[in-house]
Amino acid sequence: MPMRMIWGFFKGTLVLITKGSKAYYIWMVTLLCFMGIGFLAYLYQLQHGLIVTAMRDQVSWGFYISNFTFLVGVAAAAVLLVIPAYVYHWKPLKEVAVLGEMLAVSAMVMCLLFVTVDIGRPDRFWHLIPKFGILNFPQSMLAWDVVVLNIYLVLNLTIAVFILYNLYHKREPSKSFTTPLLLFSIPAAVSIHTVTAFLYNGLAARPFWNASILAPRFLASAFCSGPALMIILFQIIRKYTRIEIKNEAIFKVAELIAYSMFINLFLLGAEVFKEFYSNTIHLAPMQYLFFGLKGHSDLVPFIWTAMIFNVSAFFLFLIPQTRENYVTLNIGCVLIIIGVYIEKGMGLVIPGLVPDTLGEIFEYSPTGIELLLTMGIWATGLLVYTLLLRVAVPILTGEFFVGEDGRTAVIVDTEFIRRADHLAEQSYRD
């Protein structure tokens, strides 16, 4: 019986994701095209080796790992923001906890893909699986990261599916199951980000990363970029679906961003002061990043863009009038997403490797293959998120639920489901 119930649910989701408005199809086909291009780029990279990237021995990590680092922050922050509100019943945010979980799931999928395309021997991934291979735990920070990222992915997927499946059956999700898991996801979110920071932080060979302030900075900047992304997604979701997200919730999130950005800028300032004032040999990467070193200055315009964006966004979010005006609010969100993407992505990874450990300056900027592959992975993440929303939204709005026989899925007309009139009449049986 339960199998048949799950099969009914599954069939319903299949109907949901395959039927939709024209805009939905265009969106999905566009994403699939980008994914296809990315996949071809990956095949090309597999065939020729990582030589098709701009990475070399001097700069051995590049654009892929930069994107990975940024996205770990997004995954962590989406949950840290929403779960407390859910657990403590802060009404305006309660309904959207699931949306945060699903953003975390999509970001995790992208993170794992970015790591996969970065490694030289993806055919040997099984070496990481305990029992089959050897996971160097607890010695290697990368082993820790593999563990916490996978736990986090499974955790968020479990919570989201459990809540949605219960709502689909018109039951209130069991508190004794969800609350401990939701509470556990808070330290889990902190840990994925801390472990990722420690992955860099623990390398004494790289003074730019080997600063104790790195993990706090990671968390602070994640609390800016993740929520900024959520604000934009919330607005899109409430515009195109029947999910209601109150202004109050959005403005509260924006206020949180202002505080996080202040902490982020403060920590960055502390780091910049220490390096420039003490002026030791460890200043070189910081100098390379902000002012260029010996005529090499590829990152300089980017980091100053990030600085200007972050500071402007801080003021936009600090002042109540601009925070509560949707034009300035959205400008602020975009500024923050770009600013943190630069600062926490290439702005973090590359200066760790330039100048290299023997003082050589090797300038890195990604190749076309790296860009195409990266776009493919972002498209995959967006596709995953769209598919998850596609199922979650009608459940949350009560338009996708189980029929009276307890097995058949019922799909009521929704704005984004075309041909809904006949679907509403005809329920799907297995």
């Binding site: 051995s60 990590w61 490694i119 030289g120 290697s140 082993a143 390398l203 490797l353 290299d356």
Partner: protein, 308 residues
């Protein structure tokens, strides 16, 4: 209705079977070697970590590799796995007052250790430094190329794997594909490395190198005397490094490393740190010795000194 149901059932089963077949085909095409690949490809795919191989397993692996390399390079290639010699811990000395920066060591190393010629991989990097600045890496010239060396006002510092007592690269490897052997040499299992390059980020000496491309090693230049953990040909997508010519130094009688042998000015010294009579012990006890980046507590067994 029943017929309808049964047909639906069949349709579903068909599609599931088809789907499974499709999934298997895609997985096969992406991750696994092709179906008609020789059995050795599967053997190599499922090969265990070097340190987990039983003596029989190891024998099988070595003969499989010998066959593979001999066919590929059209000569009789030996792949040994000579274990460390008891009571030996290798140490290296480099006399900065003698080195003239000729880079003969760089190329002798490439020839001995079967590094890729295209693209070039060098395990030794010779830095040209300013006498006025001393050992200041930020000031180092990596690509000096005058007609004649040494150049006035400069001295030269070759850097290669420092064979640390506390190797940061070993600590960070997520799959234990790299480790320090009992004789102090840090080695890589090229069949176990997943190519994540975390060790390259962790190494303070730029000693680790990645095969960004399938290594280009012409048959004629291939050195057929190889060691599993040392100079055997490497696959694409893995990390490699200096092994103090493990294929030479562990033999009885042992041989000096290729870089020691070639050095025209005798700047390079090598020996057993546990032997009180060795040249290395004499140098450490009697010369002004320093190690690179001492503050990182990696405790290199590569000693720079000024003999004159």
């Amino acid at each position: 209705m029943p017929t309808q149901e049964r047909r639906d059932d069949r349709a579903f089963r068909m599609s599931r079977r088809k789907m499974m077949r499709g999934v298997a085909a895609v997985l096969g095409a992406i991750a696994l070697p092709a179906q008609d690949a020789p059995a050795s490809v599967w053997e190599s795919f499922f090969q265990k970590n070097f340190r987990e191989l039983s003596p029989e397993d190891l024998k099988g692996v070595l003969s499989r590799l010998e066959k593979e390399y001999s066919e590929k390079y059209k000569k009789a290639v030996k792949v040994r796995a000579t274990p460390p010699i008891e009571g030996v811990s290798y140490g290296y000395g480099l006399d900065l007052s003698r080195c003239i920066g000729c880079r003969r060591c760089v190329y002798a190393c490439v020839e001995e250790n079967n590094q890729s010629r295209d693209p070039q991989i060098h395990w030794i990097r010779v830095l040209q430094l300013n006498k006025e600045r001393g050992v200041d890496l930020e000031d180092a010239e990596h690509y000096y190329n005058p007609a004649k060396v040494p150049e006035k006002g400069h001295f030269y510092m070759p850097v290669q794997c420092q064979q640390c007592e506390h190797p940061p690269c070993v600590k960070v490897c997520p799959v234990q594909a790299t480790w320090k052997e009992r004789d102090g040499i840090t080695v890589v299992d090229y069949n176990w490395c997943i190519g994540c390059r975390y060790c390259m980020a962790a190494c303070p000496y730029g000693a680790r190198h990645f095969n960004w491309k399938k290594p280009g090693l012409p048959s004629a230049e291939m050195n057929p005397e190889t060691h599993y953990l040392g100079n055997r040909p490497r696959p694409v997508g893995v990390v490699e490094k200096c092994t103090f010519c493990v294929q030479r130094v562990r033999n009885t009688p042992g041989r000096y490393t290729a870089c020691v042998e070639i050095c025209p000015v005798g700047a390079r010294k090598f020996g057993n740190l546990l032997d009180p009579e060795s040249e290395m012990r004499y140098i450490i006890e009697n010369k002004r010795v320093f190690i690179l980046k001492e503050d990182l507590n990696t405790r290199p067994k590569f000693y720079y000194f000024y003999a004159t």
